[in-house]
Symmetry: C2
Subunit: 565 residues, 2 copies
């Protein structure tokens, strides 16, 4: 009997908002062999907050480094129980992270925050994706791009976001000039980790992923990489240096960043020299792990959502207003990667459950489960409530982090469960708005594959999404699509597959259970959606209903002024 070839494994390391997960997968079929999660120990669930500024969200970079060691070591330990697994069988490592999460670093490429001097400085930490402190700078960047007729916004929806690279760096310059001055360069978390693992941290040469560069830093080969020195100098002359120290060409995640250093390898119990893929964002590897292909919308539903599509590069693709980004190669190398999303989904339900669920829902068991039990007894439209899903702003299609929540229709009898359902419905209306925007610009959505914690665990929500969108909702086979997608890139750089698509074909799939629109619910939601859209346009667009567009802005301006007193 011929001796069977040894099994091969890849590791995906997925840096989320509150924790990092390592996943060991079998490259033959994507089978998930072992996983381990490490919760960031710093701050509130890993996030450093400022009680005086709800827009601020930072992270301690030490948590990322420790997180790699702990999560990979834990996953390897668990994998040892699998027959046939040996650390020597790991052929590649892929990494994905949140983003835009830029980190100010020193000349060696190490985070400033690791220096005792900057340990307590919020500005010296990693600027987490959901940090919105740079909203004024984002508006300034948008305005400058429009005034100078620079092409940079065309591929990011026409509006630069406060969540992104340059807004944060410029805000650091303005609000914490001593940190800005001490930083030799700025590196995205998605680039820092592969650089750290492979010993290629020098800011001038650290392998930069096309995904963070293209979606958040206005990088595009079409205009020679990052925005021009002239453009940046017009915002602040010091940004020119930031550009100069970012000089390498950005590449897709199927490219090798380097090989695992002996030092890191030893720490986790792997052989040195394993190929490490270039980094990408979690949503993008998640889309890969969920089997994204042309016509397939992948929705990653968690605290926020990402709505990912790809489009062939041999056909013309319009610039799509309000889409966060269109970047060649950012999801699947060789295809346009399209990113949309909702700034808060699970976060809205968590906010409601922790801040407004009365005693009877929390006395026994989980508040979400108790609210859901009651909410699912309601019929669509029965509560008379309607909400906007903007508690954390609107990412697509309005690209406005300063929008906020709205609830309408309360009576003296309105219950918590009714509001909870209205909030779920609001996020579904937001999801439909994104689908419509894709299709309005010629990107047909033939299939929707959902993944992420909420898609996995919330059949009530998924049914509402099917009813509101009036489309079947499929669920990704893997519960860890981001880590699986990272592992797929690990498998590709490890040589198991020639292309990302080949790896996807073997390593991804959907579950048998499909949520289909309920014929009695969908028509009611078809009536409610125009009402949602009326509110959406009135409060979200300047050309909507005149002064209503100002209401949320003015409230926030007053709030910010009062809080600073």
């Amino acid at each position: 009997m011929a001796k069977s070839r040894a099994r091969q494994f890849a590791i995906g390391v997925d840096y989320g908002t509150n924790s990092v997960r390592a996943l060991v997968v079998d490259v033959a079929d994507g089978a998930e062999v072992a996983t381990h999660v490490y919760n960031y120990p710093s701050g509130h669930q890993g996030i450093l907050l400022d009680p005086k500024d709800p827009n601020l969200a930072r992270q301690n970079p030490a948590d990322y480094i420790e997180g790699f060691f702990k999560s990979v070591k834990g996953a390897l330990k668990a994998a040892q129980k699998t027959r046939g697994f040996r650390p020597e069988h790991v052929i590649g490592i892929g990494v994905d992270t949140t983003g835009s999460t830029p980190i100010p670093v020193d000349r060696a490429g190490m985070p400033l925050a690791l220096q005792p001097k900057f340990k307590r400085s919020l500005a010296a930490q990693a600027w987490l994706w959901k940090d919105h402190t740079g909203h004024a700078e984002a508006a300034e960047i948008t305005q400058r791009a429009r005034q100078t007729q620079a092409p940079y916004l065309a591929k990011c929806g026409g509006t630069y976001s406060s969540e992104w690279f340059w807004s944060k760096i410029l805000h650091c310059k303005r609000s914490a000039p001593q940190v800005f001055a001490a930083a030799y360069a700025w590196v995205e978390l998605a680039d820092f980790i592969p650089g750290y693992l492979t010993g290629r941290l020098d800011p001038h040469t650290v392998p930069r992923g096309i995904c963070p560069a293209g979606h958040k830093a206005m990088y595009n080969d079409q205009w020679g990489g990052l925005p021009s020195e002239e453009f940046l100098a017009g915002l602040d002359p010091d940004l020119v240096e930031v550009r100069r120290r970012y000089a390498t060409r950005a590449v897709p995640a199927d490219q090798e960043a380097g090989e695992l250093t002996a030092q890191v390898a030893q720490k986790v119990g792997l052989p040195a020299g394993i190929p490490v893929a270039v980094g990408a964002f979690d949503a993008h590897t998640g889309a890969v792990g969920a089997g994204i292909k042309p016509g397939t919308l992948v929705k990653i539903i968690g605290t926020s959502t990402c709505d990912m599509m790809v489009a062939p590069m041999d056909q013309p693709l319009a610039d799509i207003p309000g889409l966060c980004g269109i970047v060649p190669g950012s999801i699947i190398p060789g295809m346009y990667g399209l990113e949309a999303g909702q700034s808060a989904v699970g976060d809205i339900f968590n906010w409601f459950a922790s801040h407004l669920a009365p005693k009877q829902y929390v006395a026994k068991g989980d508040a979400h489960a108790n609210l859901t039990r009651e909410a699912q007894r309601l019929k669509p439209g029965q509560s008379g409530l309607l909400a906007l899903d903007w508690n954390n702003g609107n990412r697509t299609i309005l690209v406005d982090p300063l929008l906020c929540g709205l609830l309408i229709g309360q009576t003296l009898h309105t219950t918590a469960a009714e509001i909870y359902r209205a909030l779920i419905e609001a996020t579904a209306f937001g999801a439909l708005t994104i689908i419509k925007r894709f299709e309005e610009y010629g990107v047909a959505v033939h299939e929707v594959v959902n993944c992420g914690g909420i898609a996995e665990k919330n059949p009530f929500l998924m049914q509402i999404y099917a009813d509101v969108c009036n489309r079947p909702m499929k669920i990704s086979r893997s519960a860890q699509t981001c880590a699986l997608g990272a592992a797929i890139f690990g498998a590709v750089v490890g040589g198991a597959y020639r292309t990302t698509e080949e790896a996807q074909a073997r390593m991804t799939g959907v579950k048998p259970k499909v949520y289909r629109p309920n014929p009695s619910a969908a028509p009611v939601y078809a009536e409610l959606y125009p009402l949602y859209r009326t509110l959406h346009d009135a409060f979200g667009t300047a050309d909507g209903q005149g002064q209503l567009y100002r209401v949320m802005k003015d409230l926030i301006a007053i709030r910010n002024r009062v809080r600073k007193r």
Copy 2:
């Protein structure tokens, strides 16, 4: 030493939404000698509800009769402890009630609901003021008055309300024709009680108060009493009979309805023959008890508010759009009585505290107290929240019971206490809107006197009202102004004073504590109010912002349709 004249007392009987209160006062100075409250035993806190229709609110008329006996007997018992009190010293009785609270009665004037056959019929009960089931009929009445150019709406704000007499009766005809057919006539609760006490219940001759007639039944001596037979016949020919059985002239509350019958007197332990005043609504006697006079706005703040003013009849007074009513003699005989109000104030806070206050606020102590403690630490504008106070519709100035609540500005950090404060502020903005409307039409507000449970017990709210309205807020000396006002009319019909004003001068007053605008808060509210007004006009008026006006209506239409399935 000359023997001092025996002290004289009057009794005010105040029929509220959940209970009836009897108050024994000294007619010399309004000193409150004794009081007793009887909670209506039927339904939910005295209110009969229909789980299928949130608009329905009825009461069991038997509770009113039993309530008179129990409350007056209890108050007299307590009064016996006062030196110098004897039941023989009671010189008059006044009565006030909620309204419009029409009751279908038989030929003898007794409520149909007392008959075994109708005991369980919701339509045969008293139709409580906050019953909104007749909203379609209200719209029909408004439309007919406009089409026929009848003058009837000019004195009630231009829109007939679902809370009022004819809407309810017409809705009974349409929805419960067997009850309508069995009813010989319809009598307001405010007229039923004096009629019952004095044995003058015959519907044709029961003393009808100008207050209920003028404010709720479109009665005006200017056009010969109730609306014409022709007008009513156009709505429904059967309404003509209702009019014919209501033929007496309506009179102010300083007139005597009759004398206490021996039967009732014996039941409560009073001498027979005591003069009983014509009935009025609680808000109107409350205004009297709070010392209303030209230039003084009396706000009665409870579950809802009433905003009362009087104006001299020797000066011209414009019809004021959106004001519930302008009726000669309805508050102080010989002056115009002006009534405005907010459909829900305390009810909104109660809704929030009981439906949305999380565990930490209810675990220990009163939810309102706990929410207030945290809410009062916030500065105006600090939460970024803004609400509309329409959870129970809008009475003034929009006169639209189908409006509903709205909250805007929620983030992922918004707390229950922030929302609680925003709801209080919303009611303050609503209060300011009413003051502005009075002044826009030439009725100057020189002073604001507040009364009612909330004015008494909620200094936090009163300070916000002072800050939002940017005016001092005074508090009525009496905590029972409605009952005191009724007792004042008892004192007048009992002969202690020649006029209501004379009695007021002796029997009413304000407390030393005055809430004055905080110079740091008022300017912020002056910025927030235009935002409130923008939302108010956009969602509340058809000429505001176009389609937004439809949103609440459409939500309710969908809700009603879905619920009926």
